[in-house]
Amino acid sequence: MRRLVLILVPYLWLIALFLIPFVIVVKISLSDVALARPPYFPQLDLTAGWAGIRTFFSELDFENFTFLTTDDLYWKAYLSSLKIAAISTALTLLIGYPIAYGMASARPEWRATLMMLVILPFWTSFLIRVYSWIGILSQGGLLNTFLLWLGVIDQPLTILNTEIAVYIGIVYTYLPFMILPIYANLEKLDGALIEAAEDLGCSRTSAFWLVTIPLSKSGIIAGCFLVFIPAIGEFVIPSLLGGSQTLMIGKVLYEEFFSNRDWPVASAVAVVLLVILIVPIILFQRNEQKNREASQ
């Protein structure tokens, strides 16, 4: 009896508040926009029995998905999201790997503190961390003032409201996600392996490329996915730092829903986004699975 309660409560909760909502999203993505409340058509009329269900299904179609392919706003937004996510993942890796490497080479008594320092920003508000860059990157912001003072530039750069600002925002907020898995990998790395490589004729640099990098591969992959996957659907960063020119699918979805009130198209955008995300998610799961097996 108790066992049943234990199973049923979280199970039913997730079905009601996670699974069913997605079924609804899929259903609405197949409906048509209507000037009604709720603003889509058809409505499922259960009072009409079987006939009602049959008419309901016959009214569903893929029109919204066709629409997504015809209006270039959408596929451009998907492509630009993928591009921004990929570039910022690469940048995060470039910045995060040396930090993780530095942490792993630090003396053991320092590592816990360094780890805490990397995690700490994660506990402060995401929104505030993104916001903090507005004052730095704006035309009259601190970065421009500083560069002008240094004499590196003689005219303020436009960084805020460009894709560059979005890259900076993503790298900044997701950096801990890249550092931690790589650090976990490097920390376990047996120092004797590096010594063995040097003993067998490697210079420090070639030992790094031939031993350290391949052995931290799974951490690198995990870190990249942990940045790439959420970056694709990111909303806050492009809307605060990206300005109107930066096209990202999370922002398009939000605007489609709240500004245009086109629920069926918004749902279709969401369904396609999910389909796009499935591939990296499955690859990520595979990598995690492999790591678990390797560590056993």
Partner: protein, 273 residues
């Protein structure tokens, strides 16, 4: 790993500076008398005063705290149950679906989760407000809690529970007296994680909130969309301060705890009591 070369020191210094400088700047400029970011017009706590007089912010903060406490508590209970399901029950029908539903929200973009929940609430004609935000936050936060708790639970020695049963405990009292105290640190950090996620969330709350239930992130978002605002700087400083204070207290406590434990172990080995 061993050597600490100059390169490592440089990369660590720059990395940490990158992580902390923006926040530090925010804190400094929250004490700026001027409204402009670049102009330093002297030290002032003016913006803190204005912030405290701004009732809209105070209301939003209250809503956020309320949502945070209720949803993270619910999420902790549900997430712990889910963790037991995942770790202890082995194979049951629908396990794959269940673990899928636990892991999917972790990688789901907020916009999709928010949209889906909103469509559900509209579909069942539920009035949007604090309740709907709580339901939404509980749902995604319980998944995080269950991941945290189940990692602790999978390393838990089940013979401890069996010993408790053997000594006359009922299953429930064995859970309460043996299992729960041992997994408590994971449950607590699960709660903290859920609470932080709830305080942090903008997108899902924007979808599921009603007109009378604006949360603090929503308020901040609408304020900063138009650019830097000194009041938000002050608010950010307060929030950063609370987190920093909490972390410092927590690390001091846990350090003292481990030191105490070590000392006790040493005494025990030496045969002192």
């Amino acid at each position: 790993m061993r050597r600490m070369s100059g390169f490592n020191i440089v990369s660590l210094t720059f990395g940490l500076a990158f992580l902390y400088l923006p926040m530090l700047i925010l804190v400094i400029y929250s004490f700026n008398a001027s409204k402009l970011v670049t102009v330093w017009a002297g030290f002032s706590t003016r913006w803190y005063g204005e912030l405290l007089r701004n009732e809209a912010f105070l209301d939003a903060a209250l809503v956020t705290l309320k949502v945070g406490v209720i949803s993270s508590t619910l999420a902790t209970v549900l997430g712990t149950m889910a963790a037991f399901l995942l770790v202890r029950l082995g194979r049951f029908s629908g396990r794959t679906l269940f673990s899928g539903m636990i892991y999917a929200p972790l990688v789901m973009p907020d916009v999709i989760t928010g949209l889906a929940l909103l469509l559900l609430f509209i579909g069942i004609d539920m009035d949007r407000g604090v309740t709907t935000i709580v339901l939404a936050h509980t749902t995604f936060a319980m998944c995080y809690v269950s991941v945290v708790v189940s990692s602790r639970l999978s390393s838990f020695d089940t013979s401890l529970e069996e010993a408790a049963l053997d000594l006359g405990c009922t299953p429930w009292s064995a859970f309460r007296l043996v299992t729960l105290p041992i997994i408590a640190p994971a449950v607590i950090s699960g709660w903290l994680l859920a609470f932080t996620l709830s305080l942090d969330d903008l997108v899902i709350a924007s979808f599921t909130a009603g007109p009378s239930s604006t949360t603090l992130p929503m308020k901040i978002f609408s304020a900063v969309r138009l650019g830097v605002s000194p009041e938000i700087n002050a608010l950010s400083t307060l929030m950063i301060g609370v987190v920093a204070f909490g972390v410092v207290i927590f690390s001091i406590l846990s350090k003292r705890n481990t030191a105490l434990k070590l000392q006790e172990e040493r005494d025990a080995v030496d045969g002192r009591t």
